[in-house]
């Protein structure tokens, strides 16, 4: 827990310093991933690292267990994460998830956690594990 909160604090600090600079944004995202890695290690001692292919599978679905209208993250975030998505129910446009298209992605630990805690149950019917969160961010950070 200690490492998690210090990583979050580091991310918050970096953000207040100005996320506009890509280098700072990258550092903030790295800090979030480092915190998830520590948590994944605690959840599963066999954890060896995040994997973009698993992240892609989580993103694309289809999954069962959540709401029938939202079988995948891609339902709202679109199958092409470099493009703008659309909220399945309200129609509201959602900025691209791929970091290549939207460098501000995954740079605020509180916002990232808040959305995982809402969106994972809606799609999977359960919370995401720390490994899944890290896989997801790894996929979207690496996506050209």
């Amino acid at each position: 827990m200690k490492r998690l909160s210090s990583a979050c604090a580091a991310a918050a600090l970096l953000l207040t310093a100005g996320a506009a600079l890509p280098a700072r944004a990258d550092a903030a995202r790295d800090a979030i991933l480092t915190a998830y890695a520590a948590e994944a290690q605690r959840e599963d001692s066999g954890f060896t690292g995040f994997d973009a292919a698993r992240g892609r599978a989580l993103y694309m679905g289809p999954h069962t267990g959540g709401k029938a209208e939202t079988p995948a993250c891609a339902t709202c975030h679109t199958p092409d994460p470099t493009r703008s998505g659309q909220h399945q129910k309200t129609g509201r446009s959602i900025d691209p998830m791929a970091v290549s298209a939207n460098p501000a992605r995954f740079t605020n630990a509180t916002d990232v956690e808040k959305r995982f805690s809402r969106d994972c149950p809606a799609v999977l019917g359960r919370a995401c594990t720390a490994r899944e969160k890290g896989d997801f961010i790894t996929y979207l950070t690496g996506k050209p």
């Binding site: 129910k89 309200t90 129609g91 509201r92 809402r118 149950p121 809606a122």
Partner: protein, 141 residues
């Protein structure tokens, strides 16, 4: 809205006086000025202006964020208190037993001849038809 000749205007006034009289007030609604409301209530849809609902409706919405029209929109208690205070202090008029803006009498009346078509998925997506909705401007479409 377009300027209309006196006669039509008189007729319009007559018709409108049969309504709650709210639609005209709603042409320009003061925009959201509270950063927390803008951020937390502007993710899944536009952050609706506090003047679009009466305080009782806002209170009920803020009481039920865990099941918010089928979505989980929960927030930490301090954020809920902060946003509730802003929304209720700047609330408008209407029927407090109705949770939705789109169910309020003025809204239904104003949109009775409007169809979603392929412009919007839901009437709650104000911006799909009202370009300046985020600034509280609903007078033109």
């Amino acid at each position: 809205m377009i300027r209309i000749p006196a006669l039509t205007a008189a007729a319009a006034v007559l018709c409108l006086s049969a309504l709650p009289g709210l639609a005209n007030e709603m042409e320009r609604v003061p925009p959201v000025t509270h950063p927390a409301t803008q951020k937390e209530c502007g993710e899944c849809h536009m952050a609706f202006q506090p003047g679009l609902l009466p305080a009782q409706s806002w209170n009920r919405i803020m009481d039920g964020l865990a099941d918010h029209f089928g979505d989980n929109a929960s927030l930490p208690a301090d954020a809920v208190a902060d946003i509730r205070a802003y929304l209720t202090a700047n609330a408008g008029r209407g029927d407090g037993t109705l949770l939705r803006i789109t169910e309020q009498r003025w809204f239904v009346h104003e949109h009775r001849k409007r169809h979603l078509g392929n412009r919007a998925k839901s009437f709650a997506d104000c911006q799909a038809c009202h370009q300046d909705a985020a600034r509280g401007l609903y007078e033109d479409d």
